[in-house]
Symmetry: C3
Subunit: 240 residues, 3 copies
């Protein structure tokens, strides 16, 4: 990985902190509170409405859009479709997190249609990515023990993070939201994805040693996201 990629990612983190970015999140009801708190900790400004009557007013004022398919229902589907049109018109970055699309066929079909119709960043775990295999996405992040960003065959792997993240609900969901915020300031899906993986992965590494379990890990994780500095990201980044 060229050193310049790391520096661009760190730069995106610093710009988000200084200038902020408004991220509209259509996300599942389990993750909404944690997602909003992570965005605020990192300098972004969240909005979270999921109603079709109001969505355009919010997308018309935001800098990035997160579409997370957890707790998908008919209202969320309608809202997502309207939001995607509004985001396309405004050419803002869109991150799609097709949560558990490997389990539900209607959800998988819905995710496929979204990817086929819009240029977006797809963030998925291995099972979800496998279910969506063969669908071309502009940029793809596959999370796991090692996370991989893949844009048109140019791949970069990030080996940061800790196992405790799997004992906390919605860590993947908040990653998607943070990547959306970072894409808005970075101007590129690839840099936004890399910055989001580094920021959450390194913050988790700082939080874990002080944690006595998943409860205190969450508290330390949010604190670390808010206070992490460029030098620490640079020192701890494990890219290849």
């Amino acid at each position: 990985v060229p050193q310049s990629e790391l520096e661009e990612a760190i730069n995106a983190i610093e710009i988000l902190r200084e200038r902020g970015a408004r991220v509209h999140c259509i996300t599942n009801s389990v993750a909404q509170n944690f997602t909003a708190n992570v965005l605020l900790a990192c300098g972004a400004r969240p909005s979270m409405t999921v109603s079709p009557e109001e969505i355009e007013f919010f997308v018309d004022r935001c800098d990035a859009l997160l579409i997370n398919l957890g707790t998908l229902d008919l209202e969320r589907r309608k809202t997502i479709n309207s939001a995607m049109v509004a985001a396309g018109r405004r050419k803002i970055p869109v991150v799609l997190d097709p949560v558990k699309c490997d389990i539900s066929i209607p959800r998988l079909d819905f995710a496929r249609r979204l990817i086929g119709r819009h240029a977006l960043l797809l963030k998925a775990n291995a099972a979800e990515a496998a279910a969506l295999d063969g669908i071309e996405a502009g940029c793809r992040v596959v999370t796991g023990k090692v996370d991989v960003v893949d844009e048109d065959g140019r791949r970069v792997a990030v080996a940061n993070g800790v196992p405790l993240m799997d004992r906390l609900v919605a860590t993947g969901c908040v990653l998607g939201a943070l990547i959306a915020a970072l894409c808005a300031v970075a101007g590129s899906y690839r840099t936004g994805a890399l910055a989001g993986l580094l920021w959450t992965g390194v913050a988790a590494e700082l939080a874990a040693p002080a944690a006595r379990g998943p409860g205190s890990f969450q508290v330390h994780f949010i604190d670390a996201l808010a206070s992490l500095d460029a030098a620490t990201v640079r020192e701890k980044a494990r890219l290849s």
Copy 2:
């Protein structure tokens, strides 16, 4: 500010702690959990259903009603209308928090109709209050660096609180719910509002020095809300 106003506010805090109050909250899905935990920490008893089929059973048993317009949708609109009728019949206090009504025109219209039809306490930030300017509300709380309670031109300013509150989602939402609980025991919107601003503002000041970021701030804030005593509120109150 007459000393008696401060003492009435402190009195309301102590009564809520001793006797409790049932607050029904029609609030956004992002704030529900934090709101319920803040009410419980302060001695109130929350209920949170938002379905039109059941709302009357809950409003018929509560001592105060919170209407928060975050994540507004058609079901919440229907429920709010029924709840307002039931609250009016029972003459219990109602607090309206018109979250982000400055962004969504349908939400602004809905907020205007509610205020026009019912005597309630309006709690808003500066942008929301400006969007609703010209609408008469019985009592108005405008939050900001300094919070202002305005009832028929009698104004009181509260300068408590810390900047970290803006890094935590829904601190404004929980303030509205706590004010509703305090109005129920105080018997006056003005005293309830003052008591809620003091209780959250002073608790935040106690929590902030021990916090290493927004994650631990939330934990300390809830602990401080539960343990705050009258002497500390009296000592730290900054009213003018």
Copy 3:
């Protein structure tokens, strides 16, 4: 209480930790996040969708089902009916938590119909249990200062737990979800219920002395749920 009952309950805790269990939770929006985090802390794997279009895909893959009637609405009713049919077909354990059915008549009617139609474990507080009196449930857990498990007249009482649990929202809701997970591995409602009461009650006793209020109590409680060992449960269990 025969010593063997305690050992079977401890055994269930250890099996859940080692092998895990997938629990689908149709639960209220206030409790979703805390419920998912408690299940993950204890080794279970939660899913939380409440939409009727997708529910069968999730119930077809889970090992136990939680039905919690908080924030009940028309969509949740429809989803619960479908989920119960799918769970019955697969013969997986079902836990029903009829939250606040003593307040809402339509909710009480709905709870009655569920109990009449399906063999399930009913977990309720005293007021909810009284409202449902006379309805036969296979196994019944009534929570309070002392919790009681009653299966066909064979009763066992659990006196673990701390008062601080009442200052935290949804502790009863998370207990129901954990019992569902434990029933899946124990193969019996009675052992699952006993294991869930012991695990949460003893974890709360470990968490309380370190807590300075309900905020830090929640953090310590989740940590304790994740780290509790068999020897401590055995030592602190108060069964009669």
